[in-house]
């Protein structure tokens, strides 16, 4: 019996020649990532368990990327960054992206690929549930807690229960001009439910995947955790290889699912038949077609986060916003400093994206997680009252973006931009037909 990509990576990183879903194996870790929320407690457990003078198992493999609570007056949040800073200095860590320095990057899940840490065939753990984003590169990547992270810091290993794999095949040879990866993943999560992939891998493939950019694929794998998935994965191809080789010189060995691999279940989607989707409050699986919610009144639009704050997301939003006035407060938060630079250099009809957003009256924040997960009360874009927000982020649980009284709709950058113009939930196809097609 063959193995899926995920099974093969786990086997390659353990003592086992082959693995089967359900069994537990100890795997060797290629990269451990942590950030400012979970880094300090992980460091504390590491020191407590391995001793005050303990050294991390391999400083080349530990990556620390502060991103969550960066631009805040909150003294405790700032203390967290101080703890990371001291630890990185003490351990002489080469990959610490300090706030306020030239190295500062922003959101870890986007910074990891930008800095070349998402390599096919490898094992990456991170103290953040959206670590699964890196599966877009054919890597086994999943989120863990502080104790597990501390364990890896000391040993370079962690136990993993081998997940069953669910396969999602996309048919079609191109993405329709109004469709974004966000629509696709909201459709899938709505179909299988927020626990539809619990303890499992979501593997994306089929002919349709080859027309998706790395950014598209990252949006898909980013949100597998919203279906309970352990990891999401896309088989590496020429697109993957081109991206990774541009970002790192380190060698890597791509791994592919065997043709006779055993799958828990298989799903088929035709890209050409898919339409803009939205998740209603308060759950990512509370799906609807955007067209069916048209007219729903909104107070705020938010474009940012690891799933919706990439340069391609802002290009899409700018295509719709260009030349229009906005009816509601619209927040723009680039995921990383590289993307923030891209807003200045990337142009649409000769105009930098940042100017398009500024002229439309958008409020533009600094690269970070910002209001995606609430955070301290002074967090940029945080919902502090009964606002109704349409957002490109990945979660709309009660109170996720701040106030328990607020409501969040999740949608693609196209849909969020179209809705920002009208102040109501709006199917982007109207604007796209006018401006693009």
């Amino acid at each position: 019996m063959g193995m899926t990509l995920t099974e093969k990576i786990l086997a390659n990183h353990s003592d086992a020649a082959s693995v089967e879903p359900g069994e537990s194996v100890w795997v060797n870790v290629d990269v451990l990532m942590t950030h400012d929320v979970c880094g300090p407690p992980s460091i504390s457990i590491f020191r407590d368990q391995f001793g005050e003078d303990a050294r991390v198992w391999d400083k080349e493999k530990l990556v620390i990327i502060p991103d969550h609570y960066i631009f805040t007056e909150d003294k405790y949040a700032n203390r967290n960054v101080d703890i990371l800073r001291a630890f990185a200095a003490d351990q002489d860590l080469p990959y610490f992206y300090d706030v306020g320095s030239e190295d500062y990057k922003g959101v870890c899940h986007i910074a990891l690929p930008e800095e070349g840490f998402t390599r096919p065939g490898e094992v990456l753990f991170g103290t953040d549930s959206h670590t699964c984003t890196a599966g877009a590169f054919g890597q086994f990547a999943t989120g863990i807690g502080n104790t597990d992270a501390a364990f890896i810091m000391g040993t370079g290993q962690l136990w993993v229960k081998v997940p069953e794999t669910m396969r999602f095949d996309f048919h079609g040879t191109s993405m329709p001009p109004y469709l974004m990866a966000k629509d696709i993943i909201l459709q899938i999560i709505g179909d299988i439910g927020v626990d539809g992939a619990t303890y499992r891998t979501m593997e994306f493939g089929g002919p349709g995947i080859s027309c998706m950019t790395m950014e598209d694929r990252m949006t898909l794998t980013n949100m597998v955790i919203e279906a309970g998935g352990k990891n999401g994965v896309v088989e590496p191809d020429a697109t993957t290889e081109a991206y990774v080789k541009q970002r790192t010189d380190k060698p890597f060995e791509p791994v592919y699912s065997d043709p006779d691999a055993n799958y828990h279940s298989k799903y088929q989607y035709n890209l050409e038949e898919m339409v803009p989707m939205i998740a209603k409050p308060h759950s990512p699986d509370n799906k609807a077609r955007v067209i069916d919610l048209e007219g729903t009144t909104l107070d705020r639009a938010y474009i940012g986060s690891c799933t919706g704050g990439k340069l391609s997301d802002f290009k899409a939003a700018a295509e719709i916003i260009a030349g229009n006035n906005l009816k509601i407060d619209t927040y723009i938060v680039p995921a990383t400093t590289e993307i923030a630079d891209g807003l200045e250099t990337e142009t649409l009809n000769g105009k930098p994206l940042i100017d398009i957003f500024r002229e439309a009256g958008c409020k533009i924040g600094q690269a970070s997680c910002a209001a995606c997960l609430g955070g301290p009360s002074d967090t940029f874009g945080r919902l502090n009252n009964q606002e109704v927000c349409i957002s490109t982020t990945n979660r709309n649980y009660p109170g996720r973006m701040g106030s328990k009284e607020s409501k969040v709709y999740l949608a693609s950058p196209y849909t969020v931009a179209a809705s920002a113009i009208t102040g109501k939930v709006t199917d982007p196809r109207v604007f796209i037909h006018e401006t693009i097609i």
């Binding site: 979970c38 300090p40 407690p41 368990q49 989120g143 104790t147 364990f151 309970g228 009660p398 109170g399």
Partner: protein, 192 residues
């Protein structure tokens, strides 16, 4: 210590389905130090503070796990619906429930990372029930969990239900966490 075999008794606190980690401990509270005894208490105070009021302490609702001026709860067992602990990887979630005085959670299914964090960190014990007991148990009911018999008894209602065995994580639960387990297995040096 053999946590797995101890009978756990206490008052039940009932929640619905898809209780996510933001509801268990909202992100704004993740800044307190877990090491500082004074700051640590605030995780207990704010445990489950993100649950919408009407869904907190079912079926009545509007019951906080921890009273406003307190740090610990009068409840020690959570009975939840499916997909308990979905969302982020924040270990502060099971830690905050532990700090609030919760010993075990009974739910038909758990989200993967929360389950794992509960076990590996040696916090609350996650027991999977065969049926959704959040539809049967009322907040305040006296509950007993008998791990060896794989049953839960509702003393107040005089009913009994099955729970699943802990399976492969039992050794880690028994040891009290992944570090204790690894030391027992000789995987890492015994400290001290």
């Amino acid at each position: 210590m053999s946590k797995q075999h101890q009978t756990i008794k206490g008052k039940a606190f009932v929640l619905g389905k898809n209780i996510d980690t933001d509801q268990i401990i909202p992100a704004e509270h993740l800044v307190y130090s877990l090491d500082d005894p004074e700051e640590r208490k605030f995780y207990g105070r704010h445990a489950l503070s993100g649950v919408p009021d009407e869904q907190s302490g079912l079926p009545q609702g509007n019951i906080p796990l921890v009273d406003e001026d307190q740090f610990e709860s009068e409840f020690s067992i959570i009975v939840g619906g499916p997909n308990f602990g979905c969302g982020s990887s924040r270990e502060h979630a099971p830690a905050s429930l532990d700090i609030a005085g919760i010993e075990a959670i009974i739910a038909p299914t758990f989200a993967r990372i929360f389950y794992r964090n509960s076990v590996d960190g040696g916090f609350v014990i996650p027991y999977e029930s065969l049926q959704d007991l959040s539809q049967e148990v009322k907040t305040g009911d006296k509950i007993e969990i008998h791990p060896e018999k794989q049953t839960v008894t509702n003393i107040t209602q005089d009913t009994s239900y099955e729970i699943r065995p802990l399976g492969s994580v039992a050794n880690i639960v028994n040891a009290g966490g992944i570090f204790e387990f690894a030391r027992k297995e000789g995987m890492i040096d015994v400290k001290n």
